[in-house]
Amino acid sequence: MDRIWRGTALGLFFASTGVILADDPPKKDDPPAKQDEKAKTPAENFAAAKKANDEASAAMNKVVAELQKKKEQLSLENKELNEAFQARNKATQAFLKAAEELAKSEPSTPLGFEAINAVINFGSPTPAIIKVLAEHHAMNPKIGAVVSRLGRGALTKDMEAFLTTVMEKNPNRDAQGNAAFTLASLMIRSRQADAEKLFEKIMSDYKDVKSFNGTLADRAEANLFELRNLQIGKVVPEIEGEDTDGKKFKLSDYRGKVVMLDFWGHW
């Protein structure tokens, strides 16, 4: 039927034969495309739309199936990852247990010392390890690095007694200072006043003991600053510096506004 409208001559021909649309003869200037649209009957539109819908549905089903497949693959990979994690955790637990046993059975040999380090570095300081340390290493001049890593432990009576002994009686200043620092750090949560006193002592007594990013005295000073000035309810200390364009500014420039202060980096 489209064809009818393609040319006036043809249209006239059909019109003259009385076929269709004789009362609306095509104009010569009508664009053919528009004529095509006009030509579609509801039945044709239905057929075309049905076809388009079927095709889009099929395309969607294909994507869904592919995603489903990917999802299954991913969950399989997650399962593998989980299993690997669990296996590793189990092995680590067994390793820590073996290390603890070794530390107990030969607390003073080099191998036993390695075992003590393993428990502290790969796990956390257990009561059994603190006992071994207290009984066999309180006077060990090389115990500084070990006591510096006891901060993840709990402030038990045994822990406090051991660290106090090292702090007061160990002949090595590195050991003394690190014991004091760890003890002060462990006291922050439950005994802030004691923690502050100890940090003060470290600030004056251990300016010579190096620690990461400075000396123990520097770190004690930073801890004291935080305990005294950076607690909820305190007026925030001033910060003066330069922005990333080198322009000077101060934190107090923003007084009157709520400030979210974010220590960050692109890493």
Binding site: G241, R255, V258, W264
Partner: protein, 110 residues
């Protein structure tokens, strides 16, 4: 960094309100920092900690041991919260502080 999208929308949401997101940036290389800022659309202002980065003077003085570390400070300069990480809780808390600031600003000098 995981916080950027939330921070970007936070800054946009707070436009015109008494609020500022202030960073304390510990990237060691300034050029890298600048290109990344552009790329990630970091529009808020930051103190730069210098070439010592995380060991620079501000994080050292403030005893910052982990990044990000967050402080929430009200319009009077009082530390009201630290290290709130949950985005929804962060939003709610900041809204509360901003409301206080707006109320005080309207109240006028009391």
């Amino acid at each position: 960094m995981a916080m950027f999208p939330h921070e970007r929308s936070l800054v946009k949401r707070m436009e015109g309100k008494p609020f500022a997101l202030i960073g304390i940036n510990s990237d060691r290389e300034k050029e890298f920092l600048k290109t990344q800022n552009e790329k990630q659309q970091i529009t808020w202002r930051s103190f730069w900690c210098g070439e010592k980065g995380t060991s620079g003077p501000i994080p050292t003085k403030w005893n910052v041991m982990g990044w990000p570390t967050l402080y929430f400070i009200d319009h009077k300069g009082v530390i009201r919260q630290k290290n709130l990480r949950d985005e929804k809780k962060m939003d709610e808390f900041l809204d509360k502080l901003v409301e206080e600031a707006e109320k005080d600003a309207k109240g006028g000098g009391s």
